[in-house]
């Protein structure tokens, strides 16, 4: 099922550089415990409703180190609905959804983020919120007797999301 391998090659060469990079991400290394049972697939809505997505196959590609098949502009990773069913079902506590999010971190490191997601990330990074506040919002709140929303202390948020200077703090 893993596509894109060179058919003339008999053996798979594991790309350990990719595996090491993924292991740097929080819970990225959990894929190592996957024994390919497929328990994560049955209740996965992205598998049910798309022809291309399958968490077991994604874990297999990770195990084989076929990262470049996953880290593409039109990556299937963003089909995941974050429902956590796979996390619930996996007997090995692989947390496939967390591995998928770690892979998305690698996509982001390569500057690949879907525009819809990028917009929300930017709103958060500039205002500390994902839903922008406007005068219309204040007016609506007033109608319900609710106080206006206070600005988020952005100096603190900015300080926190700044990467560590020596790059050593990615779990």
């Amino acid at each position: 099922m893993v596509q894109g391998r060179n058919n003339s090659q008999e053996t798979v060469r594991v790309d350990f550089r990719f595996r090491r990079e993924l292991a740097q991400k929080l819970e990225g290394n959990l894929a190592s415990f996957c024994y390919q049972c497929g328990a994560c697939v049955g209740d996965c809505p992205a598998t049910t409703y798309s022809g291309t997505f399958n968490p077991r196959e994604i874990m297999l590609k990770v195990l084989y180190g076929l990262g470049e098949e996953l880290l593409t502009e039109d990556s299937i990773l963003w089909q995941c609905t974050n429902c956590y069913n796979c996390h619930e079902r996996c007997p090995q506590e692989v947390k496939p959804v967390e591995v998928i999010i770690s892979l998305k971190n690698m996509l982001a490191d390569r500057g690949i983020i879907p525009p819809s997601a990028q917009k929300i990330i930017e709103t958060f990074e500039t205002t500390g919120r994902t839903t922008p506040i406007s005068s219309a919002v204040h007016k609506q709140r007033e109608r319900f007797g609710l106080p206006p929303l206070q600005p988020v202390p952005m100096d603190e948020i900015r300080a926190l999301i700044e990467p560590a200077s020596k790059g050593g703090d990615t779990a």
Partner: protein
Amino acid sequence: MKRFAFFPGCLIPARHPAMEFAIRSTLPKLGIEIVDLEGASCCPDPIYFKSKDKISWLAVAARNLCLAEDIGVDIFTNCSGCTATLSETYHLLQDLELRAQVNERLKRIGKEYRGTARVRHIATLVRDEVGYEVIRQSVVRPLEDLKVAIHYGCHLLKPSRIMQVDDPNNPTVLEHLVSALGANPVRHRNWYLCCGKACQTEEVPLNMMHDLLGAVCSEHADILCLICPTCYGQFDHGQMKVSRQFDEEFETPPIYYFQLLAFAQGVPYDKLGFERQRFKPECLRRFEMATAETAAPSSGDVHTE
């Protein structure tokens, strides 16, 4: 009164103030005092910002938890996304090595995470700290014969190893909460599906919502009860979109549980912001007429005591 820190997140305060109003109106009637958290930011969201950089996501979430730790109270959330982020953070930071790493970041702003503030979704909070019976007693307008379909969504229950709320394969908490209002909860055949909002392609959420709405519809429920503003968007605006795309008529009004509770506790229909919904729960008006006949004046103030 038991005191809890309210973590409202981004979506409810900005887009759905009626939901926040309902929370502030109902909790004091159940003996819960709401403590507002000063300086809280986005949780941050478990879909977008987490996908960019998990460690930064964890650091900002830990800062939000620190705000509650500093005043010595536990936190409740009102959105499944915030619940996901803050509960996972609480869980992950029990690992002392990771905690030390996050505290290195928090040191930049003079904070330290200690792991003393527990996180709960508001539905779990009222179940555990108030109880179904007290909720039942707070109802002045029993919603008899109201058929209520239930949507659990992603993160009230799952992952159960972290949430420890209810059996994820056969949950009952929302059914009990709805029954406490005198209404009849119904479980539809696709109850375990999430709302699909996190998915960044068209195909998956559209087809999934179609199946979900088909299941809800076949139960002929009066309303659909949910506990997350993101799910709400999928069932309000989203329901219209799916109806149009498939040329089918889905029209079950979605309601956030605490608005339904507020209504059952006597807050007038017209004060609950239902006119802003695309699918309006007009079916509730019959209970207002019934109570008007038996004359029970009620208040819709935010700080009712």
